[in-house]
């Protein structure tokens, strides 16, 4: 019963999560009118912000209740807290299996949508902001754990490419839920795209990104809640299977080639210039 005792010693952390969570749930989903549509604020966003404000690393003055021990213990608890959430998503996929199979080709191929980052983010980083090799790590993928592993393996995380992927990884960890809630709200507000396509695209990131994305979508289009959850969940499951390979065999080689063919030449020329 060491496990029990270990968790009991963390009562402050669990109590803080309950208090923060209950306040967040009581505030509930709020709509902020924005241009043509509305941005949806979700309890999970308030919970994250309130917890971050009680975190001694963010707000050193509030270090009284939550200490170093709690912060260290919270990290592995995220993984466990996401498990019931994933289980719930699984139970939405089973009953909708016929919808999933019918949408199979779209579900499989939208995994290649990951490459959209090369079209949009890579030019901005390399030509717009004149970034160096860190642009390779930053823009080849959505920078979740499997993509970190790819860069760590090929360049190490201490290289410029590693700094790039780590930067996007951390920004995704800190702000990913907000970005995905906004993305889904805006895309749903346009009322141009098929909600099923918006739902599939919600599965491309981490579990919490999917939560924010599907939360915003189901609030905007409540009639299709079951279908949205099933398609997003199926897409997220596929991402575990395909994400690593799309990154490793397609996205990273493509980004490297474009970089070497364009900005890489300048790097080499500059280096030669300095030496001369």
């Amino acid at each position: 019963m060491n496990a029990m005792r270990g968790q009991m010693e963390l009562w402050r952390l669990h109590l803080a999560v309950i208090v923060v969570g209950v306040i967040a749930e009581l505030i509930g989903i709020r709509k902020i009118p924005f241009g043509i549509g509305a941005i949806l604020l979700l309890p999970l966003l308030y919970a994250f912000v309130m917890a971050a404000l009680m975190n001694p690393n963010v707000m050193p003055k509030f270090a009284k209740f939550i200490g170093k021990k709690e912060v260290a213990a919270a990290s592995p608890l995220i993984v466990i807290a996401i498990m019931p959430f994933i289980a719930k998503f699984g139970t939405t996929i089973g009953p909708a299996i016929e919808t999933i199979i019918a949408a199979g080709p779209a579900l499989l191929l939208q995994e290649l949508g990951n490459l959209g980052t090369i079209v949009l983010a890579f030019p901005l980083a390399v030509w717009g902001l004149k970034m160096g090799r860190e642009a390779i790590g930053a823009t080849f993928s959505i920078a979740r754990e499997p993509n970190l592993a790819i860069i760590a393996d090929r360049y190490t995380l201490k290289s410029p490419e590693g700094a790039g992927v780590m930067g996007v990884y951390v920004i995704g960890t800190l702000f990913g839920t907000f970005i995905f809630a906004i993305l889904a709200s805006v895309f749903a507000s346009m009322e141009y795209f098929d909600p099923r396509a918006l739902a599939m695209a919600c599965g491309i990131g981490s579990g919490s990104m999917m939560a924010a994305c599907t939360g915003a979508l189901t609030s905007a289009i409540p009639d299709m809640k079951d279908e949205i959850l099933a398609l997003a969940g199926a897409s997220n499951l596929l991402t575990y299977a395909t994400g690593l390979y799309v990154g490793l065999f397609i996205a990273l080689p493509v980004v490297e080639k474009i970089y070497e063919a364009t900005a890489g030449k300048n790097d080499a020329a500059n280096a030669a210039h300095k030496e001369a």
Partner: protein
């Protein structure tokens, strides 16, 4: 923290099943409180639903630990959740009905609260050090990935005519 994540994700981690079983009970109880507060589901319905969710999660963890090949725990849990709710699985209607009384957003709230408490000093340093350029690039990475997936899915659905 990040180095270890990168390495762990390619290897099979040793999962302490008892430890996870206990922690999962606490996490599910916290989730049940959220499910009762926010969506306002009766606690008796929510409790049975949570027990079902707990058992699915535990089955997934046991498979992660003992299956002949390795998949991440989230993948196994998801697969178990699918399997027990397929229309041709005996008793699936009951499982689906119970799971319906648990709200997916209520389960995400505590996970994000733990995430807020878990922010490490190193992460704040990396975010500061990366600067506004990388933050802007990150926004475009997410936008590009999301929009790319939407466009391809939209195109294929149109081609299929469904």
């Amino acid at each position: 923290m990040s180095e270890s994540i990168a390495i762990e994700s390619s290897k099979r981690p040793k999962i302490d099943i008892v430890d996870h079983a206990v922690t999962l009970v606490i996490v599910c109880l916290v989730g049940l409180i959220m499910n009762t507060t926010g969506p306002g589901t009766a606690i008796s319905d929510g409790f049975v639903g949570m027990v079902v969710i707990y058992l699915i999660s535990m089955a997934g963890l046991l498979l992660t630990r003992f299956a002949p090949f390795y998949l991440p725990s989230v993948a196994w849990i998801s697969l178990v959740g699918i399997l027990v709710t397929l229309p041709w699985t005996p008793g699936s209607e009951w499982v689906v009905a119970q799971a319906k009384s648990v709200d997916f957003l209520a389960l995400a709230t505590p996970a994000l609260a733990y995430a807020g408490f878990a922010i490490a000093r190193k992460e704040i340093e990396i975010a500061k050090h990366s600067g506004w350029k990388l933050a802007l690039v990150a926004c475009f990475v997410f936008l590009g990935t999301y929009a790319g997936s939407v466009l391809i899915a939209e195109l294929i659905l149109n081609l299929q005519g469904i």
